[in-house]
């Protein structure tokens, strides 16, 4: 057992550090949940890609560096330590790309990935529906086979493909994104027969197509961080089906594993946040306030624990293992940790803790307030923490399934 980095890993880390030191914007970008901030973050993705740092773990042919999981973790540690911006392309890179690598055709990989890597195409996820949240398999949006002909909504000629109809919601980034991916019911027989996971198809679709209406939804602080997507016979060609039609649930679950696993929230992000919290505590706190001191210490401990837990998982994966239900441990841990850390920061800020990130006087350019709002969604999305705890109890501890 060791925590040693090879000289090649150290060199990789040093190269990343040097590039980031030279390129990370000096002033923080505006919130990526605004039109202006979204554009600025997209431009940052382009710059990252030009340095070949936007998708380090991908193969070189798609813009990556073929980096191991360990090197990806090292890159992320350097990335957030450098104070680099949040990743507007995260949904595509962390959720869609792993699915494409596992189930996509060579044509799909070549068409989708380079534009994702450069930020030219920013992706939104489209899983949830008004009546399908934690119980995702109860989704009702449909994909109907079309053998070519005319779209009722647009009147345009279409080739062989699918017509998407229905409503998606809580689609992160959809207010400003270019394309989206999600599940659609292509065979109603499964749901009718009490097997809702059957007959689903995983599709990619453009958000500016005829028949698509995007209605931004203001999150808790009012910023349009997600959106509803209304689809009315939106034509999608066969080339945009991922995996086999009807096999969408199985295909999507490989993404869910990734999402909850290692890639959604890298430890580097929390290590950097904990460092900033300690600096804030040293600057602002009353040393006699040991209650606050203990909370700051827990933030430091939690970031280190999450980093080490992830190193252990990286070793397991490097040895040919996989992450299954174990990724639920991760998801509950980081999502609750993130909130606690930001609550501690806001408490340290005293009367300034209530200032919105948009306030002129907001400390640290509003990053604590923005981070707090962002963190509040963590226990809800990517599978609620209630669902994660069910998975932990049933699959890791062997407890029987019960009523949800």
């Amino acid at each position: 057992m060791d925590l040693d980095l090879s000289p090649a890993d150290e060199a990789f880390r040093a190269e990343a550090r040097a590039w980031l030191a030279a390129h990370v914007p000096r002033a923080p970008l505006p919130s990526l949940e605004t039109a202006e901030g979204f554009a600025a973050h997209r431009e940052w993705e382009r710059e990252l890609a030009a340095g070949r740092w936007s998708v380090v773990s991908w193969p070189e042919e798609y813009g990556g560096r073929g980096a191991s999981l360990l090197r990806w973790l090292l890159f992320e540690e350097e990335y957030y330590a450098a104070g680099a911006p949040g990743r507007v392309s995260q949904n595509g890179i962390n959720l869609l790309a792993p699915t494409l690598f596992e189930h996509g055709t060579p044509e799909q990989l070549a068409r989708v990935l380079p534009d994702m890597a450069s930020g030219r195409t920013v992706w939104a996820q489209a899983w949830s529906e008004p009546e399908a949240g934690s119980d995702l398999a109860s989704l009702r949006s449909t994909a109907v086979r079309t053998g070519g002909g005319t779209s009722r909504s647009s009147g345009a000629e279409s080739g062989r493909g699918w017509l998407l109809s229905g409503q998606k919601t809580w689609s992160s980034r959809a207010a400003f994104a270019d394309r989206a991916f999600g599940l659609f019911r292509s065979d109603p027989a499964g749901a009718a027969g009490g097997k809702p996971h059957r007959g689903l198809t995983y599709l990619m679709f453009p958000l500016d197509a005829d028949g698509v209406t995007v209605r931004p939804i203001g999150r808790l602080d009012g910023k349009p961080a997600f959106a509803e997507i209304f689809l009315d016979e939106v034509f999608v060609p066969d080339a945009d089906v991922i995996g086999e039609p009807g096999q969408g649930w199985r295909v999507a679950m490989s993404t869910a594993g990734n999402e909850r696993g290692l890639t959604l929230r890298s430890p580097g992000r929390f290590l950097a946040a904990a460092d900033r919290l300690v600096a804030l505590w040293r600057e602002r706190a009353d040393p006699a306030d040991t209650a606050l001191r203990d909370r700051v210490a827990d933030a430091v401990i939690g970031a280190r624990a999450y980093q080490l837990f992830t190193y252990g998982n990286a070793s397991r994966i490097a040895a040919g293992g996989t992450l299954g239900a174990e990724s639920s441990l991760n998801k509950v841990f980081w999502s609750e940790y993130d909130i606690t850390l930001h609550e501690t920061a806001l408490d340290l800020l005293g009367p300034c803790g209530e200032l919105a990130d948009t306030a002129q006087d907001a400390p640290a350019h509003g990053s604590w307030a923005e981070g707090y709002t962002f963190s509040l969604a963590g226990p809800v999305y990517a599978g609620t923490n209630e669902i994660q705890r069910d998975i932990i109890a049933e699959r890791l501890l062997g407890l029987p399934k019960g009523r949800r």
């Binding site: 060791d2 401990i301 080490l308 070793s315 441990l329 509950v332 407890l399």
Partner: protein, 331 residues
């Protein structure tokens, strides 16, 4: 980087687990609590035969150590089975004597080979840390007491002060002759306290794992309202949280052990507080989910629960550990 126990380390832990599983440690622990240390001493010797105490003793004194990673794995197994006795204090005494080396005159040579072989059960305390008690001092072959920059071997002990854990027989060490004095004593004592904190963290992790496993077993069998109580979400979620606490404490323990092997104690306080909090949370979960049965001393699992409470305070309180974490933090 390979941040998982390797095959040999796993095999070592498995062999200890097998030995302790067959040893009926609840009976050994209850006997120890009643002052009958015979079964405990016999088990101690068998653990020594598998190399547990030699891990803290260098080769020059007939040991194989110091090997902090293996020590952490071994103490996880001791905790898993609620092994009684001053196991932590014995390896801390070994680390102290090893670090002090020639400064003790003949003490290192006198005591270390016996600790490695299991013949010598030692206790150790640092009264300057605010703790006047040495664990199982009355039954130990040697009690080392650090007070400021002096260390003495105690002559006798005060009356046993019962602990939250009945198998922990605390007593004040009394009298004795000064063995060594000076800054080397202080430095060696700080090192020994780090080894003790690491071993305690490991013990706590093992305790927590056992508490969780036994509680899971219970809720899979206990039926109410016509179904097993383990099918209720309130029960499941509490157990899931208990597992999360333990799973995230374990890598801190391993990193602390690796650090100690390289002379860096930075991760030790985080490992100590995390493992002890996780174990204590597991004890509270076990108590709650066993219902009234969990509140009885008749239930063997109570030995684990009560030890989890005691270990929180031993070798670094939660507040002490958190303060040390921030002393060592970056930024």
């Amino acid at each position: 980087m390979w941040f998982l126990p390797d095959d040999a380390q796993r095999e070592f832990a498995r062999s200890l687990n097998a030995l302790l599983t067959a040893a009926d440690t609840p009976a050994v622990s209850r006997a120890w609590a009643a002052g009958d240390t015979g079964p405990g001493r016999r088990l101690w010797t068998r653990l020594a035969d598998l190399g547990v105490f030699a891990l803290a003793v260098p080769e020059a004194y007939e040991g194989v150590g110091p090997l902090p990673v293996e020590l952490a794995l071994a103490f996880t197994e001791l905790g898993r089975h609620a092994m009684p006795g001053p196991v932590v204090e014995t390896v801390a005494a070994a680390a102290f004597l090893d670090r002090l080396g020639d400064g003790t005159g003949t003490a290192a040579g006198d005591w270390l080979p016996g600790i490695a072989s299991g013949k010598t059960v030692a206790s150790f305390c640092v009264v300057t840390g605010g703790n006047p008690y040495a664990l199982d001092a009355a039954d130990a072959d040697a009690v080392l007491v650090v007070d400021g920059d002096t260390v003495r071997i105690a002559e006798s002990t005060g009356p046993v002060q019962p602990s939250a854990d009945p198998a922990r027989r605390l007593a004040r060490p009394l009298g004795g002759t000064v063995l060594a004095r000076g800054p080397r004593v202080t430095a060696a004592a700080a090192h020994a306290a780090d080894v003790a904190a690491l071993a305690t963290a490991a013990q706590a992790l093992g305790l927590g794992r056992a508490l969780l496993a036994h509680t899971v077993e219970h809720v899979r069998q206990r039926t109410q309202f016509g179904v097993v109580i383990g099918s209720f979400q309130a029960v499941k979620h509490r157990l899931a949280d208990t597992l999360i606490g333990l799973e995230f404490a374990e890598p801190l323990l391993y990193a602390a052990a690796l650090g100690l092997a390289a002379g860096d104690a930075a991760d030790i306080p985080a490992a100590k507080v995390s493992a002890c909090e996780a174990a204590y949370a597991a004890a509270r979960t076990a108590l709650q989910l066993h219902g009234a049965l969990g509140y009885t001393d008749e239930l063997d699992l109570s030995l684990w629960m009560r030890k989890a409470r005691a270990l929180r305070s031993a070798w670094g309180s939660p507040a002490d550990c958190r303060a040390r974490v921030l002393e060592g933090a970056r930024a």
